[in-house]
């Protein structure tokens, strides 16, 4: 029979766990709202950047002098994967699904006899994959977005990637991050950043149809010069967007995970309390029987 005192101790411990998880849920909910707002506020810039780049790329299309970041190096031998995870755990499948995707992609690329390099943004994926991919790991960047994510932080990551690209260390760069869908669902999204894939030409946009052909833009300075500025900038913007989406997803995932944990702790407490009461009752009954049978024996 379970000891009464042991049961009491367990109930108390589960109760304090529930307190912690429910507090974490509240914190995650508050942070989620902020992160979501930030992600939404950043969308217009990314959209317009993409549109501008699209029209530039369209007017430059197929020209030999196009920058490598747009046209590619002509090879896809060395592949850089950038994995976005959280620095901390306790957020359900958030980190695990990124790890799984990165592992799968690395495996497939290796099967194609490509060289794989991995850059980790956030600690968690690195913790899991550091043994398996020790030779492929380029670097790990942590501590991003402790409070709010600033554009300058994204720019640092982008600078690092640009530097590596200019040094010819890789040919194709793909980021893997969680795209925020809702607090319950995050979608693991691989997105190729280098070479840049211009968005498909939009056809139904009413604003642009009356302007005639799209390639009538005047450029000041020359297209090449603007592109040389715009491409690294676009990289930073895309990474910024990925960071924001990832942050929102992290808080969403944590909120859901902690909500479940709180509910489970509640169920557990109910079960334990039931056992505790039963045991207590059994002890009392046993004592009574002992007293009565003792009195009868006299």
């Amino acid at each position: 029979m379970a000891n009464l005192k042991d049961l009491k101790v367990r109930i108390a411990s589960v109760q304090s766990t529930r307190k912690i998880t429910s507090a974490m849920k509240m914190v995650a909910a508050a942070k989620l709202r902020r992160a979501q707002e930030a992600a939404e506020a950043a969308r217009p810039y990314a959209e317009r950047m993409e549109r501008m780049l699209g029209s530039l790329a369209a007017s430059l299309g197929g020209v030999d002098g196009a920058p490598k970041m747009l046209a590619g190096t002509g090879s896809d031998q060395v592949q850089l994967l950038v994995a976005f995870t959280a620095d901390r755990g306790l957020c359900g499948g958030f980190n695990g699904s990124i790890v799984r995707q990165v592992r799968k992609m690395a495996h497939e690329l290796k099967a194609d006899s490509k060289t794989v390099k991995i850059l980790f943004v956030g600690r968690k994926a690195h913790d899991v994959l550091k043994r398996e991919y020790a030779n492929e790991t380029v670097d790990m960047i942590t501590g991003l977005g402790k409070k709010n994510i600033h554009f300058s932080e994204a720019a640092q990551v982008a600078d690092k990637i640009t530097e590596m690209f200019d040094a010819g260390e890789f040919d194709v760069c793909t980021v893997v991050f969680n795209r925020f869908q809702s607090a319950m669902t995050q979608i693991v999204t691989p997105q190729q950043l280098i070479p840049f894939n211009p968005p498909a030409v939009e056809d139904g946009d009413d604003d642009t149809t009356d302007q005639g052909p799209k390639s009538v833009y005047i450029f000041e300075p020359e297209e090449e010069e603007i592109l040389a500025d715009l491409l690294p900038r676009n990289l930073a913007v895309q990474i910024f967007q990925a960071l924001l989406e990832s942050a929102a997803s992290e808080h969403g995932a944590r909120m859901t995970a902690m909500d479940n944990a709180t509910r489970n702790a509640g169920d557990m407490i109910d079960g334990l309390t039931m056992t505790y009461n039963r045991t207590r009752q059994a002890v009392i009954t046993k004592e009574l029987i002992e007293i009565i049978s003792g009195a009868e024996a006299l």
Binding site: P44, Y45, R48, M52, S55, F151, T208, E220, I226, R233
Partner: protein
């Protein structure tokens, strides 16, 4: 004048301004661009400087931008700024401090960081000029 120009100012963090204006003057990399409704489509880089929003012949609002890009179509002018704030919100002392820091960084910079330090110096210079 019936025709108006949709002016949008966007920073990476958020959409700062989206309104209908009469004319804007954008500091282009190769000279200031006055944009009126019906302007030919244009894409330009923006140097650090001040965007003037004109309304019925006078400057209504002045906004400092630290460089970026500008896309103009006949009915719209979109500025993608790296950093933006109203000129009235610039703290002159802070701007001067930034210029001093930038100058020091520029002097210390080696070949790799030179371009960056130089850019920062231009931004700070423009900021001080805008505040003064």
């Amino acid at each position: 004048m019936a025709e108006r120009l949709e002016f949008e100012l966007v920073s990476p963090e958020k959409l700062l301004k989206s309104e209908s204006v009469e004319m804007v003057v954008v500091p282009g990399a190769e000279g200031d661009l006055g944009v009126l409704p019906g302007h030919s489509p244009l894409i330009a880089t923006v140097r650090p400087g001040v965007i003037d929003i004109h309304e019925s012949g006078t400057v209504k609002e002045r906004i400092f931008v630290a460089g970026g890009f500008c896309e103009v179509s006949p009915e719209r002018c979109t500025v993608l700024a790296e950093e933006a704030m109203p000129v009235t919100a610039i703290d002159k002392a802070a701007a001067e401090k930034r210029l001093e820091d930038a100058n020091q960084a520029w002097q210390k910079a080696d070949d790799a960081t030179k371009a960056k330090a130089e850019a920062e110096r231009h931004v700070a210079e423009a900021m001080v000029a805008a505040a003064g």
